[in-house]
């Protein structure tokens, strides 16, 4: 048995790590799945306005059971609430808000991200599978900053941060940061830069896991 000298960030700890970097006053879209957890960890005292692609700005937490309103749902089709000051708008305005660069941060899940920020998160390209893209491509290229939140390694232990994505692309050079259970990395035109890593994981070990050079 291999005894590891470090501990991975749990899903909650990862969400907390992402939330730390979301500043007061920002407009943010959290993608479906793991990124939605980030909303629970925004530090007290920071006012962050959440956008939902289906036409909501100022989205609040889930309602209490029995208080659901199925005209008020998020992109993942779960019931949500609207904060005082929130607004509704139609789909073309919502995606215009995204594409027009008005959102500060968008947090997405991913299958793969390249060192220079190419994103693959909509299709594994498996033959016979039914393709579905939703708002992934619009979100990837729209916000001022696109962040990815994912496990660094696949279940098989392969790095999801790669030199070049093998899965179909969602967008080119659009990811600025990758938050993972082992490290936080920045994608630059020159490749990866380290932002932080879990205690006990040394730099060489991280580079070996990723299989790519990572600038300090």
């Amino acid at each position: 048995m291999v005894i590891m000298s470090y501990q991975k960030r749990s899903k909650e700890a990862l969400a907390q790590r992402v939330a730390q970097d979301i500043h007061d006053g920002t407009y943010v879209n959290l993608g479906i799945g793991q990124p939605t957890l980030v909303a629970n960890h925004i530090p007290a005292g920071r006012e962050v306005i959440l956008q939902s692609e289906n036409g909501i700005l100022g989205m609040g937490p889930a309602p209490a059971p029995q208080d659901e309103d199925f005209d008020l749902i998020n992109a993942g089709k779960q019931p949500v609430t609207l904060l005082p000051g929130g607004a509704y708008f139609h789909h073309a305005d919502s995606f215009g808000m995204m594409r027009g660069g008005h959102l500060d941060i968008c947090v997405l899940g991913a299958f793969q991200v390249s060192a220079t920020g190419d994103l693959a998160n909509w299709s594994t390209g498996e033959p016979g599978s039914i393709p579905a893209v939703g708002g992934a491509m619009d979100l990837a290229i729209g916000a001022k900053q696109t962040w990815v939140m994912m496990d660094l390694l696949t279940k098989k232990g392969e790095s999801k941060v790669v030199a070049q994505c093998s899965y179909p692309l969602t967008g080119i050079a659009c990811v600025k940061r990758i938050y993972t259970d082992l490290a936080t990395l920045a994608c630059t035109p020159q490749g990866l830069t380290l932002i932080d890593k879990v205690d006990g994981l040394d730099h060489a070990e991280l580079e070996q896991l990723v299989g790519l050079p990572i600038q300090h």
Binding site: N54, G135, M137
Partner: protein, 238 residues
């Protein structure tokens, strides 16, 4: 006198031709005009092209229209869902054509149709599989001020079916919460727009500052009683 209030769904949908392109509003449980989709099934038009964010789920609504064999092609952003088995079956056996469009491009192509825009360059989808035409050839692209864009064309509808909350006899509409979604853009993009509302009010009763869809974009309104269903936007009964 202008009176866009139709007595029934059947009256509002009469004359829908075979081969029509039908824009259908809705996202998740919100804003799906279920009564109009049922009406389209009863009306009988075939060989339809359907534009919707999804491709139907379960056995009702859009899935029932697909199951009835009335749809030749679906243009949508997200066909695959946990219970989209009707679409999945038709797609896998090549009995339905799919044009997959990123959601924002779908909304903007509808907006362009309504606004008389001939085509537009968008950064969404550049360098991806979805920047290709159905025959696999690349879509036209252009570099503008150092950024890459794909040329996308409008989606015009012959008919739009949408769900609103309140309307008047001139066809002015307001919506409810996130049930607005594709309704306002689809209303502008179709030659003929039919909207359901839960309430018909007198002219002047809708605040002119708050009307979302001006009546010029609406052909018929059908009043549907609010039912305590999920899609009706009511709380689920305890």
């Amino acid at each position: 006198m202008i009176n866009k209030i139709a007595a029934s769904v059947a009256e509002a949908l009469a004359g829908t031709p075979d081969g029509a392109t039908v824009l259908i509003g809705g996202f998740g449980t919100a804003g799906i005009p279920n009564e109009l989709i049922d009406g389209l099934i009863a009306q009988g038009a075939r060989d339809l092209t359907i534009v919707n964010n999804n491709a139907g789920n379960g056995d009702t609504g859009l899935a029932a229209l697909l199951k009835a064999g009335r749809v030749r092609k679906v243009i949508c952003s997200f066909p695959r869902q946990a219970d989209s088995y009707v679409f999945d079956g038709l797609y896998r056996s090549s009995r339905i054509e799919l044009e997959l469009v990123p959601q924002g491009n779908l909304a903007e192509r509808l907006r362009a149709a309504g606004a008389g825009v001939g085509a537009f360059f968008t950064p969404t989808g550049y360098g991806t599989e979805l920047a290709k035409n159905s025959d696999g050839s690349p879509k036209e692209t252009r570099e503008i001020n150092g950024r890459h864009y794909v040329l996308e064309y409008p989606i015009h509808g012959d008919l739009a079916l949408i769900k609103a909350e309140r309307g008047d006899r001139w066809g002015n509409l307001v919506y409810r919460k996130a049930a607005r979604n594709f309704g306002p853009v689809m209303a502008t993009a179709a030659r003929h727009t039919v909207a359901t509302v839960h309430e018909v009010v007198e002219l002047g009763a809708l605040d002119p500052e708050a009307i979302v869809t001006p009546g010029i974009h609406v052909s018929k309104i059908v009043k549907i009683d609010r039912v305590a269903t999920q899609a009706g936007g009511f709380k689920i009964a305890a």
